[in-house]
């Protein structure tokens, strides 16, 4: 990874409360990075420090090796799209997009021309003369995006920009934002608490919790190799099993109610007899009436079946342990609530989590 944007030991405290503790991160040029986390996890605080609206208690932000800490927000050349878009209500769409150029001393005729071009790129040619209140939510979003990009910022920050849109429009805008970002190659940080947004858009995801970074990885690695328990439970659904390592060399552990359980390759070194945390994703578990041959089978009592049409979530108990299993919609007919069944999995789908 090259180091286009660097966060070095960013810390932010408000009185006794630590909003951010020693956040370190390096982002490459042109990357699409998502800050993912629940509200109050520090992701927006980090964004505001990068933009210059908040001052870090300690630490520094560097773009291409140069510190931003002495610069006011208007000197940073960073484009931001806010959750509520923050379009200027007294200016038309094209005047909104022209604004950053106007501030940089670009002449009105030249600036309006570039603003129109940018509106074209976001798919809004012909809408320039409208006022923000005459545009739909999705269109306002595009104007805000055009305005944040027209001055060729060194960074694009998106602060939960899709939160106010309905589901269909949100998916459409996800694809659209990704397309525009690729076209321009601008380094982008996208803040969200929506894991599907993070999954579908990002080159890498940064998971925040309680003011610190839990994991930085590609969407696939975040999903399949979560580093911490929090990441495993925050992204997607998971079955967490507390176990004790029996034979670390053979990747074998033992868990209450389940008994012996094998797990997949792991970078973690564990000593024999130490407690380990294992994770299985619900869709990696197979459900059947009879034991499957060649796999580790466990008996489960089915408690609840939630049918989604194309798939179903089966919640059951193995002893005292609650387990969740995803099955294809067509397979759900084999089982009823209150019945016993067998669940099985392969060792590769069992992943060991650090803590």
């Amino acid at each position: 990874m090259d180091h286009y944007l660097q966060l070095n030991g960013l810390t932010k405290t408000y009185g006794d409360f630590t909003a951010l503790k020693e956040v370190d991160l390096a982002i490459g040029k042109g990357e699409f990075i998502t800050f993912l986390g629940p509200s109050g996890s520090g992701k927006t605080t980090t964004l505001m420090i990068i933009a210059g609206f908040e001052k870090a208690t300690a630490g520094d932000v560097l773009v291409e090796g140069k510190s931003l800490s002495g610069l006011a927000p208007h000197e940073r050349n960073i484009g931001i799209v806010f959750q509520n878009y923050a379009l200027f209500p007294h200016k038309t769409a094209v005047e909104n997009v022209y604004f950053p150029l106007q501030m940089r001393g670009v002449s009105r005729s030249e600036g309006l021309k570039r603003a129109e071009e940018m509106l074209g790129l976001v798919g809004l040619s012909g809408f320039g003369q409208r006022y923000p209140k005459e545009l739909s939510g999705g269109q306002q979003q595009r104007v805000a995006l055009a305005r944040a990009l027209v001055f060729e910022p060194s960074l694009l920050l998106l602060d939960e920009p899709l939160g106010a849109l309905d589901k269909n429009l949100r998916e459409q805008m996800q694809i659209e934002i990704k397309r525009i970002q690729r076209t321009l190659g601008v380094t982008t940080i996208f803040v969200t608490h929506d894991q599907t947004e993070a999954m579908s858009m990002s080159d890498r995801i940064v998971v925040f919790e309680k003011g610190s970074i839990q994991q930085v990885a590609t969407p696939l690695d975040i999903y399949h190799k979560p580093r911490t328990r929090f990441v495993a439970s925050f992204i997607g659904e998971s079955n967490i099993i507390e176990a004790a390592a029996v034979e670390p060399a053979a990747r074998k552990a033992t868990a209450e109610h389940i008994g012996e359980i094998e797990y997949g390759p792991s970078e973690l070194d564990v000593e024999k007899g130490t407690p380990v945390t294992l994770m299985i994703r619900p869709e990696h578990i197979r459900l059947s009436r009879d034991p499957k041959e060649g796999r580790r089978n466990v008996r489960m009592k089915v408690e609840t079946i939630v049918n989604y049409g194309d798939n179903a979530l089966v919640i059951g108990r193995v002893g005292d342990l609650s387990m969740r299993v995803r099955v294809l919609g067509a397979d759900v007919v084999i089982i009823k609530e209150g019945e016993d069944c067998h669940i099985s999995w392969t060792p590769d789908s069992v992943y060991m989590i650090a803590k």
């Binding site: 933009a51 210059g52 609206f53 006011a72 927000p73 208007h74 940073r76 050349n77 960073i78 484009g79 931001i80 806010f82 509520n84 923050a86 379009l87 200027f88 209500p89 007294h90 604004f99 950053p100 501030m103 940089r104 012909g126 809408f127 003369q129 409208r130 005459e134 545009l135 739909s136 999705g138 269109q139 305005r147 944040a148 001055f151 429009l169």
Partner: protein, 266 residues
């Protein structure tokens, strides 16, 4: 319910409407219904310096009051709405105090206070007193506007390269403009309308229109009062209708302009 509605409208509108025919009356004093009609009292108003001078005084004093009020209120509102500081709640209270104290009490206070400063019976004295009364009203209007102001707009402007001063000029001020205009208008009207304090301190030289009207109705009930009331009524009516008319006109122009543009929608 409908009857009550009609009654309310009648009670509110009747005093307004009644002065209009009275202003065209040819009676020697205020009288309704008028025995006959002529325009003599309009002529009397526009030629009599005893009426024109107070009118001019009122306009002058109200304008000065408006300017001084806004100079004080704009920074004060920004400070009180956006910043926290020691003594803020006391400052808040002091701003609104003149609303709670009866005008007659204020008037007596100003009379003795401005008397010591030798400002009684001067324009400046009246302007200062009226400003004290206008400040809370202008403050209330403007602070309501400022509280509803989305600060992300200013952050957006700064992220787009506008310095704090440019942000204020290009974003904050234009968006707050309606609030500023309304609060200035309230300051103006409050002064133009004010009678109690004016009676105490305006004297001969700075005599305002409401004071002159009050004196006149006590002494002779000159129908010119009805003329002035009618004129003020017309001015207010025009001021109320004009924005709507202007908006309607602009919409029509825009409709015509956008008829050739592509339709809205997603």
């Amino acid at each position: 319910m409908r009857l009550i509605g009609v009654l309310v409208v009648v009670f509110i509108a009747a005093p307004l409407v009644i002065v209009v025919p009275m202003s065209f009356s040819d009676a020697r004093s205020l009288q309704f219904p008028p025995p006959g009609y002529w325009l003599g009292y309009y002529h009397a108003y526009f030629t009599d310096m005893n009426w024109l001078r107070p009118t001019w005084n009122s306009i002058l004093i109200a304008t000065a009051t408006m300017v001084v009020t806004m100079v004080l209120v704009v920074p004060a509102t920004f400070a009180l709405v956006r910043h926290r500081f020691a003594g803020k709640s006391i400052a808040d209270l002091m701003m609104l105090m003149p609303l709670a104290v009866p005008h007659i009490v204020m008037a007596v206070g100003y009379y003795s206070f401005l008397g010591d400063l030798r400002l009684v019976h001067t324009h400046l004295g009246v302007v200062l007193a009226h400003t004290c009364l206008s400040v809370p009203i202008a403050f209330l209007v403007l602070s309501a506007n400022l509280k509803g102001f989305d600060r992300n707009l200013e952050r957006a402007a700064q992220s787009l390269g506008a310095s704090p001063v440019k942000t204020f000029i290009h974003v904050t001020l234009p968006i707050l403009r309606p609030g500023l205009i309304i609060s200035a208008l309230f300051a103006f009207i409050q002064s133009f309308d004010e009678t109690v304090v004016a009676i105490f301190i305006s004297g001969r030289d700075a005599e305002t229109l409401p004071r002159k009207m009050f004196d006149s109705i006590r002494q002779e009930a000159d129908p010119v009062i009805a003329v002035i009331s009618t004129l003020l009524f017309v001015v207010v009516l025009v001021a109320l209708v004009a924005p709507f008319a202007w908006r309607g006109l602009r919409n029509r122009i825009q409709m015509n302009a956008s008829r050739s543009a592509p339709p809205a929608g997603q």
